[in-house]
Amino acid sequence: MRPKFIFALLLLAFLVLGAALFLKQHLENTAAPPAGPEIAASAPVASNVVAIIVPPPAPAPAVTNVLTPEQRQAAIDAETDRLQQWSMNDDPASLSNILADLTNPEKEIRDAAIEATKQFGSTNAIPTLKAVAANTTDPEEQIALLQAANFLSLPAISDSSVQLPKTPEQIQAATQKQEQRQKQNPK
């Protein structure tokens, strides 16, 4: 009787342990940042020259009427993730992919592509943004495209990191501050 009880208890313990481990692993997977596909694998190869012409509609994602709303949303989310990853790269192929999505049939993807263009930070994208804006009927999207073009025309902080000479007034003020600090902390 006693061995049977012990065996049953042990079995229960392993079952609970197994369930706990499974649940833990499952939850860790869901909490992790969404994993994107390998960029190089899905990136269509493009020339190093960024096209000024409005790019053709993007080949991905395959959003058709056959898809359920959940599948459609999943496809949109996947492409949005890819756009975000491409935006962090510096290669022409990534920029080409981003620009292609500016004319994607899905508005959510087009919006993400505009943001990705800003994040990519290449002035090469400006002509395409302006060209797409010229062919867009949605006034809000047109504004967003032109704002993105303006944004890209600005230098980034790192571009302007050269320290410029200070004015005589700035030098005098800095000297005064230093003298004051020395008086307060004679060490």
Binding site: R2, F5, I6, L9, L10, L12, A13, F14, V16, L17, A19, A20, L21, L23, K24, H26, L27, E28, T30, A31, A32, P33, P34, A35, G36, D77, T80, D81, Q84, Q85, S87, M88, N89, D90, E115, K118, Q119, F120, G121, F151, L152, L154, P155, A156, I157, S158, D159, S160, S161, Q163, L164, P165, K166, T167
Partner: protein, 261 residues
């Protein structure tokens, strides 16, 4: 006798593990895109003999450039080495927003500090607020907080499945510093948009979209020059399993009672 004791301990351990797994259910990490502009006086006035002129310099801020600033800062790279074992954030890294409230700092205005994490697909992870155990000091290179008090929301929830959707509005503070003369400390507001699936196994599949805007600069510097940031935007979306009972989020959040009111 010994076997019985062992079995009992095993059961207790298994139950504890199961409980721990449930406790780890957390908000999904949101891949964040950050953009904006900053204006400042970069140059000295120019006098052409008749007129003296000084123009503002306006620069763009993007996620990529913020990471570049972190990599260019001796202060940050020293912390990076201590915390991650590398002194550079790898190319292709990005920011994620961690809404979970388990961080080392408390902000006097906003309560718990929400983490910004720089990460990538290859396992690199650097939380911008934390403790450097080598230098034995806290460090703070950035965070994104939602207001604990001024958080309001609207929602629709199915009474039986508890699935539904929610839209919250809140005040936010975005802070970034490279410890090297570049800082953004901006306040604004924004939205958290939630979609909750039906409760299953104590969790709900949850999609969270954040869209924050800090329209006005508060305490910004570029290369140690006073600066004004404009329209700093942080946005992103994530999906994950969240413990049931969080929906509606804005009520759950207020009940956390971070300030002890």
């Amino acid at each position: 006798m010994k076997l019985t004791k062992f079995a009992f301990i095993a059961v207790v351990a298994a139950v504890a593990l199961a409980y721990n797994a449930k406790a780890q259910v957390s908000f999904p990490l949101v891949n964040l895109t950050i953009s904006g502009t900053v204006s400042y006086n970069a140059a000295s006035p120019v006098d052409n003999g008749t007129t003296t002129k000084l123009a503002l310099t306006k620069v763009s801020v993007t996620t990529k450039w913020l990471i570049n600033l972190l990599n260019a800062s001796p202060t940050v790279t020293s912390t990076l080495m201590d915390v991650t074992g590398t002194n550079q954030i790898p190319a292709g890294s990005y920011f994620v927003y961690d809404l979970n409230t388990n961080n080392v700092f408390d902000d006097p205005n906003f309560g718990e500090v929400m983490s910004l994490i720089v990460t990538n697909k290859n396992g690199f992870s650097f939380t911008l607020v934390g403790y450097d155990s080598v230098a034995t000091t806290n460090y703070d290179y950035g965070f994104l907080n939602i207001d604990q008090v001024n958080l309001i929301g609207s929602y629709s929830q199915n009474d039986s499945t508890r699935a539904g959707s929610e839209s919250d509005l809140t005040g936010i503070e975005f802070y970034f510093s490279d410890g090297n003369g570049n800082q953004l400390d901006d306040f604004g507001n924004g939205s958290l948009t939630w979609s909750f699936g039906k409760v299953s196994g104590g969790v709900q599949k949850t999609t969270l979209s954040v869209n924050f805007t800090a329209p006005n600069g508060f305490s910004d510097t570029v290369n140690n020059n006073a600066a004004i940031a404009q329209n700093v935007k942080c946005s992103g979306k994530a999906t994950g399993n969240v413990a049931s009972g969080v929906f509606p989020f804005y009520l759950w959040w207020l009940e956390l009672d971070i300030f002890g009111y």
